[in-house]
Symmetry: C2
Subunit: 438 residues, 2 copies
């Protein structure tokens, strides 16, 4: 099976555990078979591999998620990176070209496109495999998954099938309705449109060539920023007369709010937290190093990260977005391809961060114009390169780096570093990257 | 007026804002006339000064509160330090000897003893002044304040006065009763015993000399650890036939739990926090550098410090103690006479703290046996002395201090320092202090 996972979203609804660079799919709150915590993207990746260990999995995403994806799924995962945001049609066209031109998949082969964030069980992936098989048969150009509605939701678009067969021709699509209308749709046998569909690669390639002047993946990638923003629905689905829908009645949950997310949690508490016996329906996710104590609460979610603390009635948590929009705060933690960092102190003219560099990894070789840095190695062994000079370092060593100075650090074992940044204008944008001559 | 404020308590009931070294009286949650936050002890100190600007105020406390008292009340406040804990009679005897022998107050003068933690208004201090005047008249050896009960509390001892005059002879004292009994006491005109009383200094000195073999304050201080643990009630009050009580009907609140403390807060929020319009009777005290967002909560207190986060129904918050007793955690922040510190990162073999040294102050000259330290100055100017070598330092400078090395830092302006401690056995007890030769 060829599968493209669409990984997008800014995830403000799950503040403070998601932020501009960590979307909700990277929060580790589920448990795998070994009892280790895993994120939505790790869970889905594992589930796909369990259903089809030879699946070609490609993550279609934006630049700012690449580090987190490598951190959570390893270096070898296929990623189709959008150079900039251009809505779903260009993104899907790019991923399709990536599969044929980079991964060299036969254009006659089907691919399944699905969002990375629904919370599903194994039967969902078996259904995706069925969806690919139906697309391979080629009775229609596009095959959608139609999810059997469990309630008249206003949050989803609806698919009206011709009949109630397992596989049916699509009569029409409906935009997100009000509840009244949703009820009527459901009475007529409508299905939720979860944005999951399959097609033969050549089909979308052809549509893409009709609308965009490009030769291959590299060319499409190079001119990506010139493309029109247009959704896949508008560009393809609405114009296509030959569409089938396959019913799916298994578990399919959209975990977009704290309310729905906590319903899917295996345990009431993730991280250092406890509650007294008078708490009911309380969930706590604690990603900071100090304990949380909850007493006498009902229907409440508590979540804490280096960016803030949310304490919310579960129902009310869906109204979080405007509050978070106004915060506009500094990124306080991130997962990078080489490890992770966390801001531990902020002053006007200094910023102190704790860096964890995974064994065998290195930072980019880089310099800053407007800040000096002091590294104190607190754990591990490795080497630094400062203006071309290589030096071994270990716990207890201090490295001072003046502005303008090129530097990197390479971890032989896992390295932990306290980095103090000093300057009047400290900014993530003050960075020049260089190639390292070795 | 001579007044001794008894400042004790471990303050676990107000976790995470109080801990073993910061008792509840040091939490800054009230507002003074200028709109600045002040603690209970600062508030009480300010109120006494407003009623009697020449009052001799002495704080009777244990060693571990001295730094916080100097930090909040300045260097010139009178402090009678108990070398170790020996219950209230030795503590009051020591403070009494301190007043006569160190401050040189005439033993014929009265003194008022009161706990530092009730939440009161100015009329309370006028009543204390009256209490001193009554003691000066000498109709009785001991004059107590009797607080008019507002409900049949099980938390306080009761004083049974002979009659309902403003000043009356005491008939008897009653231990904390059950609610039924409390009702009966109140019907008989009983008053709450808030532990507030006045006496002529010579009276307690005489009792002390009868029970303890000592010459003066210095001698009593020197043999303090050999003294028997005995309460003032047991040693003095129960044996004294000549006791008066003065009624007090003004505001007097014991802010011992989050529930009662939040009732006395001037604002619903202290620190970086917001709540949506569906919160009612919610109070937030946030002492950490990240925002708190509360949504749809009712009757809840949220408080956050570098030691943890409490989210509790207000009623339930009074049951916090057993949970906190079990935590037994590291001290993560403290106010010192020279400034303050906060732990910002903890690893097995390193500890990173942020130190703020107030202008004109210095650390003790000291060394450690089992750890190295790295100081990165992030703000201010001053000088370091390392093994006798003095050196000016400013923001951006790095000082490395190996184990065994004597060191201190002196703040010319306010200094902020990131200190990384490195070693296999990092402990607050690993410290040798030295005199500095200048």
């Amino acid at each position: 099976m060829n599968i493209v996972l669409l990984s997008g979203g800014s995830g403000k609804r799950l503040w403070p555990l998601s932020n501009d660079i960590r979307s909700k799919q990277f929060i580790k709150i589920f448990k795998d078979e070994n009892g280790d915590y895993e994120s939505m993207v790790q869970r889905m990746y594992r589930q796909i591999r369990a259903v089809d260990e030879n699946a070609t999995i490609t993550i279609a995403t934006s630049k700012n998620q690449v580090s987190a994806i490598h951190n959570q799924l390893g270096e070898n995962v296929g990623i189709s990176v959008e150079p900039c945001r251009r809505d779903t049609f260009p993104a899907i066209a790019l991923a399709t070209a990536y599969l044929t031109d980079v991964i060299k998949v036969d254009p006659e082969e089907p691919v399944v496109i699905c969002p990375v964030d629904p919370y599903v069980e194994m039967d969902y992936f078996e259904a995706l495999s069925d969806l690919a098989d139906i697309a391979r048969r080629g009775e229609a150009n596009l095959v959608l998954m139609g999810i059997e509605p469990t309630y008249p939701s206003e949050k989803y678009g609806y698919i009206i099938p011709k009949n109630d067969d397992a596989i049916s021709t699509v009569l029409s699509f409906k935009e997100k309705p009000d509840m009244q209308t949703a009820r009527q749709y459901i009475e007529k046998g409508a299905l939720w449109n979860g944005g999951v569909f399959a097609y033969k690669l050549k089909y979308v390639l052809q549509r893409a060539h009709e609308m965009i002047d490009f030769t291959d993946y590299q060319d499409l990638y190079a001119k990506y920023d010139t493309l029109e923003k247009i959704s896949f629905d508008y560009a393809v689905v609405e114009k296509e007369p030959s569409i089938q829908v396959m019913r799916f009645s298994g578990q399919w949950k959209d975990l977009g709010t704290w309310n729905t997310l906590t319903e899917a949690m295996d345990e009431k508490v993730v991280g250092d937290a406890q509650m007294n016996e008078n708490c009911s329906n309380v969930h706590i996710v604690n990603e900071i190093g100090v304990p949380i104590l909850a007493m006498g609460l009902k229907d409440v979610v508590i979540s804490a990260s280096p960016e803030g603390i949310l304490v919310s009635d579960k129902e009310q948590s869906s109204y979080i977005k405007p509050f978070v929009d106004e915060m506009d705060q500094q990124i306080m933690f991130a997962e990078k391809s080489w490890g992770s960092f966390r801001v531990i102190d902020v002053e006007d003219e200094s910023l102190t961060i704790k860096i964890t560099l995974n064994a065998g990894h290195r930072m980019n070789y880089h310099s800053h114009d407007y800040r000096d840095e002091v590294w104190t190695i607190i754990e591990g062994e490795g080497k630094t390169i400062v203006d071309g000079m290589e030096q071994p370092v270990k716990a207890g060593d201090v490295v001072t780096i003046e502005s303008g100075c090129r530097h990197t650090i390479i971890a032989d074992t896992e390295l932990k570093i306290i980095e103090v940044q000093l300057g009047k204008e400290i900014s993530v944008h003050d960075k020049h990257k260089f190639e390292l001559e070795e």
